[in-house]
Subunit: 230 residues, 2 copies
């Protein structure tokens, strides 16, 4: 019955949010003379949220938001070394090695023999392509969709295009808001595999009463769950 | 014989490079106290080129490159108002109204009844989607491919996926380097419709002796040319 498996990339297949968190710390260290840590992070978050409709998701927009926050917080008096450091931090994120999460490769190898695997991810187009190439996982996927937003229409379109429709598809990811809720809305099954930390923007309540939803401790639990619902 | 028509977006369907050029002027005005115009532009170009493999194409990377150039040129002593102005210039570019080029809409309306139209464009994913939506041309396209690079493999893949292969496809665009040469290499026909200005990165010699190439003064000449080669 299940023909197609959609997989999120960042924090589902490889580390991502931890790299953002490390950059948050670097940002707080740089701006420590100007504001307290909590204030810095909440202002950065507000600027990111304000810019989301213009910048979309990804490291380049995040870097621009860090610079904008710096200008606001320092009333434009930040040392230029701070701006240079922020630019360097953004470049470091883009060039960061891709570290696959445990059990991902072995699990996808099994799943790719049973279902059509489709990578569905947000973020900067070039960066996501580069991460997939660096991960060595590219050959396991029948299709890759880098999208600007993950909503119900996205999952309907992607599972129609690359599979046999959402009703015969499973989506697996770490974000309740982007991977689980809209996939369920589209009529697909959805398995939430949490990551150690979650970007606050991606948090939402789990659809615990929905029979098409599962909370799995590890991606390694995915083959058994899909076999059970098939 | 021709089934599919690929169309570039920026500077083929709507104005783009002129908006970059206006931002160049704004950048030169801001940094006039630090360096002469030609020096500013050649340094900005060098920084853009250096960052291309990390940032890819689009306004966000361009904005980051303007900030980086400012830091270099002012030895980090730029007034913070300059950085704020550059951030604002980037946001203005992203929010700039989309102005379709003359004859585009009427020509595409005719062509979309004869061929499968595929939009093939580089740049920031979200921004390109927003421009297409704002242009009102979206319904004329059977498919949209926002890609990180336009090379031979890109055209082979896109025309296989959305058409009947490159041999039965025409690519039309303003960039010799990105729209024409790799499409010809892939085995497609290619029509160059020049824009009033060209980003230096996109310049290349025309394949004048290739029978699958045409130089057209206007997109309005496209239907006749395709009819002739079909």
């Amino acid at each position: 019955m299940i023909t197609t498996l959609g997989l999120d990339a960042d924090d589902t297949l490889w580390h991502n949010e931890t790299i953002f968190r490390l950059t948050h710390e670097r940002f707080c260290d740089l701006l420590a003379p100007y504001a307290a840590r909590d204030d810095l992070l909440s202002r950065l978050s507000a600027v990111e949220r304000r810019n989301l409709s213009l910048y979309g998701y990804g490291v380049k927009g995040f870097t621009l938001s860090m610079i904008e926050t710096t200008m606001e917080l320092t009333d434009g008096q930040a040392a230029s070394s701070v701006i240079r450091e922020i630019l360097a931090a953004g470049r470091d994120m883009l060039a960061h090695p891709v570290e696959a999460l445990p059990e991902v490769e072995a699990t996808l190898a099994v799943l790719s023999e049973r279902y059509r695997l489709v990578l569905i991810t947000k973020g900067d187009l070039l960066h996501q392509e580069q991460k997939l190439a660096a991960s060595g996982l590219g050959d396991l996927f029948a299709a890759v969709e880098i999208v600007s937003e993950k909503d119900r229409a996205t999952y309907e379109r992607v599972f129609d295009r690359h599979g046999t429709g959402a009703a015969q598809a499973v989506m697996c990811g770490n974000s309740m808001r982007s991977d689980i809720l809209p996939a369920i809305e589209a009529g697909a099954y959805a398995a939430h595999v949490p990551y150690v930390v979650t970007w606050e923007h991606e948090m939402a309540d789990a659809p615990v009463d929905n029979p098409r939803f599962a909370e799995l401790p590890s991606i390694a639990d995915l083959p058994d769950w899909i076999a059970k619902i098939s």
